[in-house]
Symmetry: C2
Subunit: 354 residues, 2 copies
């Protein structure tokens, strides 16, 4: 029987509460679809490892994690004790870089049972992917301060884009579009204002497009693109963006479909040289942590993305059908979706619906 080694990092806050439901559904899918899961749990979180050792992960974290087939991640962050940039650069952003997870992939999809904040949109109307560059660009640590603490203070931070880093994420986006019905790539740019990196990004998109004659492509400046997400979200198929623009679009997209609380994301190393990491879009949500009311769908949908990535497409599709069935039932959804279930009841309902 096919076995997958999964590194499990629940993290902080509601990460700890939704992870068991993700695992429950994963185990059920495994038994139904003829594979098995070996789990190794890690306590890399603000309220666990950091609280004891003052850093997010041990120095030998790579050895501890080993060579899993994938990482299943909850959410890290506990701003009361650890500043966000410390917790995130010490774990999530570190995985993205060190494991060269150069694609951040998120679906923007209108789901049944999830109220859409946009007028007149129905499930099925909105269904696209945001492909975000996940390792370089605007998220650099290059730069510094001049005349710090004085009136003349100047602070500089560099955006660094490489052809290597840009082309590979563009290639992923075009490859993904080629598998889809509409076969269309939209590139997020700002070449009318960010006058060095973004005109060059536009050129790379045109170059990459030449390799995919069956895929059409266009570009929007990021300002008007965010507006289009609200006004014409049905227009998009695959949207590809730099690290920062992708970060924005992949929160805005789920907001437009009302799915921030339930959407998943993949931090993917498409070359398979390192493990990929799957996590819900939502964070650790300290405000509702500890109550057992968090919505587990984001974690469970992340399990489906992970299985798809591992090659278990049937199991992944089955999980998504079970998720849709449960979301459509008020008695089985959690309270954030005006349902009556708690975290565990919702997770069990999805496992049962499998």
């Amino acid at each position: 029987v096919r076995n997958y080694n999964i590194s499990v990092i629940p993290g902080d806050g509601i990460g700890k509460e939704v992870m068991p439901e993700g695992i429950r559904v994963l185990e059920r899918a495994a038994s139904l679809y003829g594979f098995s899961i070996t789990q190794t749990w890690q306590d890399f979180a603000c309220c666990d490892y950091y609280a004891k050792h003052g850093q997010m992960m041990p120095d030998d974290w790579k050895d501890r994690i080993g060579k899993p087939d994938a990482i299943f991640f909850g959410a890290v962050g506990w701003p009361d004790t650890v500043p966000d940039h410390v917790s995130l650069w010490g774990s999530l952003l570190q995985f993205r870089r060190e494991y060269d997870q150069y694609v951040n992939l998120r679906p923007v999809r209108l789901m049944p049972g999830v109220p859409c904040p946009l007028v007149g949109r129905e499930p099925g109307d909105i269904d696209f992917w945001v492909v975000r560059e996940n390792t370089e660009g605007e998220y650099s640590s290059v730069g510094g301060k001049m005349f710090p603490g004085t009136d003349r203070e100047i602070v500089i931070q560099e955006t660094v884009m490489t052809r290597h880093g840009t082309d590979r994420v563009l290639r992923y986006a075009f490859e993904l579009a080629a598998t889809r019905e509409r076969k269309h790539v939209t590139s997020a740019t700002k070449s009318n204002g960010i006058a060095i990196t973004m005109p060059w990004w536009d050129e790379r998109v045109v170059e990459m497009g030449k390799n995919y004659p069956a895929v059409t492509h266009d570009k929007y400046h990021i300002d008007i693109l965010t507006a289009q997400f609200v006004l014409n979200p049905d227009r998009f198929d695959v949207v590809v963006a730099s690290n920062l623009f992708g970060d924005i679009l992949s929160d805005l997209g789920p907001a437009c479909t009302g799915t921030i609380g339930v959407a998943p994301s993949g931090n993917i190393n498409p070359d398979g040289t390192h493990p990929s990491l799957f996590e819900p879009v939502h964070g650790s949500a300290p405000d509702i942590a500890g109550k057992g009311i968090a919505n587990p769908v984001g974690q469970i949908w992340s399990a489906a993305m992970m299985l798809e990535h591992l090659g278990e497409a049937d199991a992944a599709a089955a999980i998504m059908r079970a998720v849709e069935t449960v979301l459509a039932e008020p008695g089985l959804r959690t309270g954030d979706l005006k349902g009556k279930a708690n975290t565990e009841q919702c997770g069990k309902a999805i496992a049962d619906a499998l």
Copy 2:
């Protein structure tokens, strides 16, 4: 009688069509409220000056413009003949810098007659300002390429923030909030990812806030902030942001209220050492140019912002009342708002409603 010298730059495309309506309303307001307007028109546009001379403006453009009390701007851009980054850096962005128009101010307001894309929002529900830093930050021309044209290509662009440039725009935002009922400033940040400039921006916000004990403030990361514009737009009062983040938010905000086609913006030098510039949010719209169907409300609302800036608050308020009256009438609105009027008819209706 009070006289204002106004430099008029209609620009390209629909800029040329909506400007006469802006002027019409301005003249009417002047005659009703006891002031006069002296206009000096300039042909600084892709299809005028650039077509003849290969640059957007003459080298002595500052002398030609002289020392007006304000600049009334339509829209520039004609991508078929002039790349956007050339036309914009050669005019609009040049004014912003050379005239040190360090605040870009845009209202986000739900207006009658303008269909809102968000579920269940009514005129009055959404009413806030976006204050954007308009001269520095992410829009720098510092950077370049290494190994150009090769597989090792690296492209770098620097974000440059200064204490001088940051503090003054923050001060403007806090001053503006202090005049409003809710007295609240929201800062757009990304200090969890953009780890040099943005944590510093956050510190400057906290410092500036200390001078305004009556004004409350909070911060959101730009990704979740764009989501909040869609999910909870009624939450905001004054939103302050860096150049890039403000660019995004000030298109997204009007999109959320359906007002991109009618919203205005001010490029303001609050110190009065240089003229400020007022322009509609929309661009030159080559696709509908020449048909006489463009919506003139953005230009007219910009006239109201300009008069407010010049100290003619009564006239400005009267124009806004006239705009709201006309927008509420399908027979007087333009076709983009499912109305029956053309550009001129709509402009005349607003002048008459004054």
